[in-house]
Structures are given as C-alpha cells and as structure tokens.
C-alpha cells in the first residue's frame, strides 16, 4: 500500500497551477527504482488480413510508472497500444498473437471478459471524444453506469474524485449539468481522462493525447501525468520525443522494418534511451537524424 497523503492533500485543495518546472530533459527523469510488472508483452504481433503491422514485441510495463512508446509514423505504436485493451477485436481481419498478460493473466486467452478488461485498462484518444449528448457529470459517470453501478452517492463521489484527479474539478464543479461540448479542447481531453479514471482502471493507455491540443493544454496534461501515475499505470504513445522524455519513466522505441512491419528496437528506462541507447538506430532517431 502506498502513501497517498500527498495526493489526497492535493485533491482537497483548490486546483493550483503545477509547480514542477521544466528543466533539462535529464533532470526530469526519475530514478530507476525496481518496480512490479503489471502488464507484460511477450512476442506480441499484430497482423491485418495476414499483413504484419507489428511483430515480436516483448517488454514489461511497470506499475505506477509512465511507459512511453515512441517512433516514427508507421512504426506500429498505436497498433500496439490498441492491442493492449483489445480494441482490435472490432477490426475484421486483425489478429493479435503472442502473449499479453495483465497481472499474470493472459488477456486474450485468459478468463477476463473483454468488457471487464477494458474497464481495467482504460484509454484516452488522440482527439477528445466526450459523449456529445451527455452532461459533464454524465460523461464521467458513464463508465460506472455502464458497469452497473447506479448508487447516486457513490457516483457523486466517484465523479468528484475522477475530476479532481484529472485536475478539472475546480473549473467545472459549478456546471456539472452543462453539455460536454461547452468545454475547451484541453478541458475536453481532461474530461476524457476523468471519464477513463472513474472506472478505476489499473492501466491508462494514452494515444497521443495532446496531438490535437494547444501548447498550454498540452502542458496541463503533461503535468497531470506525473500525479496520475501514483494511482494508475500509464502507457503513452507519442510522436513527440521531448514529451516522452518529460513524462515517461520507461520508454519503448519502435521502428518500421524492411517489410514495413513495426519492430521493437529498444526498451529501457527513459534515462537510458535518451542518454545512452544501446542501438544505433535509437541514437539516430533521438538525435533527429530521421523520423
């Protein structure tokens, strides 16, 4: 059990602008303490209609840390991310092979039903996608309601908690009945984060969550992530190396191979990837030689 005092303090206090300053890349990288594995990937490959999109990826996602996936476009970052909460199930002809284990249980061949799995592994998308016809409150409560939780007291509490975690509570607490569409883009994305957090996932997948946002909103989200990882493990896909360096603890670098299939080139702590990568291609990418 973790000491949550710092988090709860922040929750009870009004929203304050983040205090962490952005210094050099290396300063921001936390120390590489040993951590418990929550999601492990072994030889994971995704094929669409027998065309390989990503092949043979193996790495472990550590608990309460931020794991980033970087690489040029076409390297299969998003494809891999969507394999983690079985979103490829919707696509005809998509096959995920290899093993993906959540807390030691295979998510594809194990006994976890897909819907329950998805409430344990939440996801935030590139563009904010709040449900347009629902109010702010209903958006956040929707996941719990989907899962059959109807008690109003719990919902109220959970909504407040999720919005607070997403650093949105203070600005919306007076207009919970307002339509989600009335929020700004950045607020909408934080609402989506709150919506994902409300069902208390163990892992939160983020697919380029700031790619459609302005710099200020982007910074809000990035700041949020460092506090969020205390309560949820984060896997983030980003096309922005600086962002990966700023927010993540571990980093996976993917690259498109000869046959246009994405491959995992290197997985290590973010510090190592950005200061001393073992693969030359990683170094080339980090130094901006291609991509």
């Amino acid at each position: 059990m973790m000491d949550m005092s710092s988090v709860t303090n922040e929750m009870t206090e009004p929203f304050a602008p983040p205090t962490i300053s952005i210094g050099s890349l290396v300063d921001q990288i936390p120390s590489n303490a040993p951590a418990e594995t929550v999601l492990s990937l072994r030889d994971v490959a995704v094929t669409f209609n027998s065309k390989v999109a990503v092949r043979d990826v193996s790495f472990d996602v550590a608990k309460n840390r931020v794991t980033s996936m970087i690489g040029p476009s076409g390297s299969g970052k998003t494809t891999l991310l969507r394999a983690m909460n079985r979103l490829h199930d919707l696509t005809k002809g998509a096959v995920v092979s290899g093993t993906l284990e959540l807390d030691g249980e295979d998510i594809y061949r194990g006994s976890i039903p897909t819907t329950l799995l998805r409430s344990r592994i939440g996801m935030v998308f590139q563009r904010p996608n709040p449900f347009p016809t629902m109010s702010i409150y209903d958006n956040v409560a929707s996941g719990l309601r989907f899962n059959g939780i109807k008690k109003k007291a719990f919902l109220d509490d959970a909504v407040e908690h999720a919005l607070t975690s997403a650093a949105l509570w203070e600005s919306v607490k007076g207009r919970m009945k307002a339509a989600a569409g009335t929020l700004s883009g950045g607020e909408q994305q934080r609402l989506c984060i709150a919506r994902a957090l409300a069902v208390e996932p163990e892992i939160l997948l983020m697919d380029e969550p700031t790619s459609s946002l302005d710099p200020v909103s982007t910074q809000h989200i990035e700041d949020l992530m460092s506090t969020l990882k205390e309560i949820v493990t984060i896997v983030i896909v980003t096309h922005n190396m600086q962002q990966a360096a700023r927010v993540s603890d571990d980093c996976a670098f993917l690259l498109m191979g000869e046959d246009r299939a994405g491959e995992l080139i290197e997985f290590a702590s973010t510090e190592k990837i950005f200061t001393n990568p073992s693969d030359k291609r990683t170094l080339d990418y980090i130094q901006g030689r291609f991509g």
Partner: protein
C-alpha cells in the same frame, strides 16, 4: 448537403488582375443563357404555387374554413368536411411510423454495426433499391397480397388481442386504415433505414471506441452513445419518411377504401378511410367545373402545406445535424 465555399467570390477578383484580360462581353452569352433559364424557372415556380392557390379559391369560397373542421366528407355528394381526411392521414401516417421507425432504425443499427462487411454492402444496396420501387407496385402488393392476409389472419388476430375493443373493434375487412398504415410503413422503411444508416456511418469512430474503452458492452455503446449522438440525424430520417407517408396518393387510393363517417373512423383501425392524397387520387377524374376542381385544389394546398412544412423541417434538421456532427 454540406455547404461548400462558393468559388465565384474569390475567383472573380483573381480574374480581373490577369495580364490577358478577358474582354468584358465575352462571357455575356453564357450569363444571358443562364439568366434566361433561371427566369423561366422562377416563373414556373411562381406559376406552380399560383396555379394551385388561385384554382383553390372557388373551393374555399364554397366550403369556407369548414373544410378544415367539419366532419362530413363525401366528394360525390358535395359534402366537404375535411376532418375525416385529417384523421385518416394522421392514423395511417401514425401506424406507418409506429411500425417503421423502430424496425428501420433497428435494422440501420444492425447494418452499420453488426452485419459483416461483405453482407453489409448487399443488404444496404437492397434497402436502397427498395426505396425506388414505384408506389403503384406497393399498391399492387398491398391489395393483392396484404389485403387477404390482414383480412383472414392479421386483423382477426389483432381483434382477439384486445378482445374486440378499441382500437381493434369492428369488422375485419382487410381494406382500410390498418392496411394503408402497414403498407405505408413498408414504403417508408427503406427511406428511414437508408438515411439512418448514413447518419450512423458519419458518426466518428472515436465515440464508439471511447465508450468501449471504459467497459461498455456493444449494446450499451449503441443505446447510450450512438443513438443519442445521432438523434438529430435520425429525426431527420424519420421526418423525411413522414413526408413520404403524408404525401402518398396512388397506393393509398387502392388500400383505404373510402371515407366513412367520422364516428366509425374513430372507433376502429379496421375501418375504411381516406387521406388527402387518396381522396385527390380517387376524385381527380370527377372534376368538371371550377368549384369541384377547386375543392381538389384545396386538398392539394393542404397537402402541399403539410408536406412542405415537414420537408423543410427535415431539411433544417439534417443540415444542422451534419454540421454538429463534425467534431
């Protein structure tokens, strides 16, 4: 239906600054031609409304506003109370919507989200083809196939259901409001299904994935997210279907029988009846003087106002909706 920026605004400016300046009169024949064509059609548009309105004046003079509320309709014996026609129109359209809306939207959902892709193409093409089946053929099917089915099986069954009480009291004849409503529902079903499917198809995928990723089941995605988000578009689809149902003439002429007393019309859905469209179709041949033709023009005018309003509403809804759906 999406609005595209008209190129003419900017392009006019760019042409004037060119080195090889086109002479001022060079486009004149083209512009004149288009102006003439437009003028002709503006004239036709005005004449269209003028003809129906002006020819209906002798009719209004004969009936007064009684055409809108009196209860005795019998064109052949010059009784012009239009209330039974309002009731008939409302009942047939109501039955049609009651049957076609859930089935139409349900099958649009099934086509858009459940049916495998190769079958989906076939199914939706078939639905679109159904939308172009001429209404007289629905009349043939209604009269020669559905009529005897309703008469022998459908209506007795419905009658048993309510124990012979309202709305299924009376004699199961086959021909009548019930038959008209059912065939109308079949006629508007393709319209509703095809447009609803387009509306569902235009929904951004992220909404569905967003709902799935917080643990919604597929039915929850459809019921709680997809349908509410598409509601304006669906309303547009239903409104267009309503417009078609309200304006149907030929098929209903065969299926409704004729207008009985308002009393029996309110008593049972099995009773024969008439709508504005079916009465126009049934009596157009009997016009012989400005008054009797005028009465028909009055009916046409009422029909034009009702259907026109419904269609304008649909047009507004669908436009606004398409704009709102783009995130």
């Amino acid at each position: 239906m999406t609005t595209v920026v008209e190129p003419s605004d900017q392009t006019l400016i760019t042409t004037t600054g060119r080195g090889r300046k086109p002479s001022a009169g060079s486009d004149r024949p083209y512009r004149t031609l288009l102006a003439i064509v437009s003028a002709i059609f503006i004239a036709i548009a005005i004449l269209f409304f003028y003809s129906i309105i002006s020819k209906s004046i002798p009719g209004w003079r004969q009936t007064g506003l009684g055409l809108l509320y009196r209860t005795n309709w019998n064109y052949g014996s010059s009784q012009y109370g239009g209330l039974p026609l309002f009731v008939g129109t409302a009942l047939t359209t109501g039955i049609a919507l009651l049957l076609a809306v859930p089935v139409g939207i349900g099958s649009a959902l099934a086509i858009a989200f459940l049916v495998p892709r190769p079958i989906r193409l076939v199914v939706s093409s078939v639905v679109e083809l159904l939308a172009v089946v001429p209404s007289v053929i629905y009349g043939v099917w209604g009269l020669l196939t559905m009529e005897s089915f309703l008469n022998q099986k459908g209506e007795p069954w419905l009658k048993n259901l309510t124990g012979g009480h309202w709305p299924f009291s009376g004699v199961p004849i086959g021909l009548g409001i019930m038959l008209g409503g059912i065939v109308l529902s079949v006629m508007i079903l393709p319209t509703i299904t095809a447009i609803s499917r387009d509306v569902f198809g235009a929904l951004p995928n992220e909404l569905i994935e967003g709902a799935l990723s917080i643990g919604a089941t597929r039915s929850q995605v459809l019921r709680k997210v997809v349908i509410p988000a598409c509601r304006p578009g669906l309303l547009g689809a239903v409104t267009l279907g309503t417009g078609r149902a309200l304006g149907e003439t030929i098929a209903l002429y065969f299926l409704l029988g004729g207008v009985p007393s308002i009393h029996s019309l309110c008593n049972s859905l099995f009773c024969t009846g008439g709508t504005f469209g079916s009465e126009i179709a049934g009596n157009f041949g009997q016009r012989n003087d400005p008054v009797s033709f005028g009465i028909l023009c009055c009916l046409a005018m009422i029909l034009m106002v009702i259907v026109g309003a419904v269609n304008l509403g649909a047009r507004a809804i669908v436009r606004r909706n398409l704009q709102r759906m783009l995130p």
